[in-house]
């Protein structure tokens, strides 16, 4: 998209958001690893940890692939 005017692709913004959210969610999951939040079902599966990690991986792929490079 928008190659003609070199607008940063929307996918790059998606990647940035995923990396930031992934880090926050992963850290939150690790903090609550031994003291899961009360009232949350299946907390023993530690969903925030692997979901946060997944977001970081996907976000990094998007950031790397769509990083706005200068015109050559």
């Amino acid at each position: 998209m928008s190659e003609n005017r070199h607008i940063i692709p929307v996918w790059f913004f998606v990647g940035v958001l995923f990396v930031i959210y992934g880090v926050l969610i992963l850290i939150s999951g690790l903090v609550h690893w031994s003291h899961p939040a009360q009232g949350v079902e299946l907390a023993n599966l530690h969903a925030p940890v692997w979901w946060g990690a997944l977001l970081i991986v996907l976000g990094t792929i998007y950031c790397a692939k769509y990083y706005p490079r200068s015109e050559t």
Binding site: M1, S2, N4, R5, I7, I8, V10, F13, V14, V16, L17, F18, I20, Y21, L24, I25, I27, S28, G29, H32, P36, A37, G39, V40, E41, L42, A43, L45, A47, P48, W51, G52, L55
Partner: protein, 567 residues
Amino acid sequence: MIAMMALAAPTTLVHLSGVDLIIIAIYFLLVLGIGFYLKKFAKTGEDFFLAGREMTAWVAGLAFVSANLGSLELLGWAGNAYQYGIMAAHWYWIGAIPAMVFLGLVMMPFYYISKTHSVPGYLKLRYGTEASALSAVTFAFMTILMSGVNMYAMAVVMEVVLGWNLHFSIIVSSLTVGVYVAAGGLFSAIFNEVLQFFLIWFGALLIPILGLIETGGWSGMVARIHERFPGQDFTHMWGPMSSASNNPMGVHWIAIVFGLGASVSMGYWTTDFLVVQRVLSAKDVRSAKLAPIIGSFFKMAVPLIVILPGLLGRAVLPFHLVPGNQAGPGQFKFDDVLPLMLARYCGPGLLGLGITALVAGFMAGMAGNVSAFATVWTYDLYRPYIRKDATDTHYVSMGRWCTIIGLVVSIGTAYLVQYNKSMMDYVQALFGFFIAPLFGTVVIGMLWKRVSRMGGFLGLLAGVITSVTVFMLMKFVPSTVKVFAFSPLAQPLAQAMWQALWATVTCVVVTVLVTLVTKPKPDEELRGLVYALTEVPREEHTNWLHRPVIWGVAALAILVVIQIIFW
């Protein structure tokens, strides 16, 4: 802002932690930043109103499907799934996929080749000012009313779910949307719709994953539902529809196929400018044809994060939800099922992601409404009837002001709705009056070059009048439900389908009859607008993997398989 958000009442559905609030705040900062960044690219009318017509099929397709993936829709359909079972998925499958494929393969070439900027713009080229003005005025008026209704609904949801102050939600969301849409126009709206699409998927997908783990898979979930609600069928789509009395919706399969599939959804997905505008931003005809088809595959998957959580709610929630108008203190209503399921499985961090997805959905819905309103007002009303010969810069400036004025009117509408709740139902019904007959007018005009100027206009008018009349009669004279919906048991959703079917049929019949006794438009005025006089670019030299027709057929085939699986 964060401090105000944190002032949640103690009796809310979910409670946010610090990390959740940070996640929400980051989203607001990012969308505002994107809006300011895109401002420098939205200089001409083509940029501001049609995102420069340079979007790829993927971006246009995701924005197309995302414009309809608002939070009210998510909460409402998850609630409908709890109430009616998997039958609610008809609105995502037969009620969307054929129409999206039809838009891509049949209608999009005409919209795109005619170089129109809007659906009323196409009507002006095809029929003339009468049909175009009727469509533009009603669309602009109702879009802005809908934006206000959505704004109010969002504020109520945020108040009930999170305990946020009503005025706070209205003002912060409208200010944010106003800033980023006024700055970047459709560029901003589309960028945020794509972001919202990913947020909604990754914010809600954990609910079905963890829900199915808890219930032991699909069969475990079905067994639990049968155990808790014996004698009721919530897990079959077509089986209970052989008669209106066999299902809680009171609907017969004919209403689903012809009312929903052939009228309501065709009207919405192919002529509602709010969604069509996203596809018009595509960079070429092939991308414009592919965009709605790409969108159809994602639309087909949405029941995973909307319908399945509703069904899982039936299986796992330890209490029963009730209709909204019957919910007493301490009781939850059907539409609360999605936030309840979110709170059930998501702790700090994940909860913030889920709530951000809901907020993003609401804001993207508002942005969609105001950007479509700004386009129709500027190009279909202001330019032809108020100021014909202004510069392009003037029209862009008008578009920016329209965005702000549209939001101010929306805020006014939101407060009006607060004092007159029944207005909400009427505004939503009002929107439905025009959509189904408009499809009849547009499609018959595209496929039959003989249709005359007055045929199109009077057909549309007759369809709208029929729609209003049928709605009023069924609402205020209940005995007529049996006449128009062929069953006294038809619920409002089923009634709306029959109402749309009557309106479409009337529109087409009147259009044909008037056309036969009036003079057709000359061929030279119809080139690029109708099937017989338009050279649609052929794709025989395109790699088969890139051909829209291949993917359109694949989408329809998958749709059929899904229907058989959940029959």
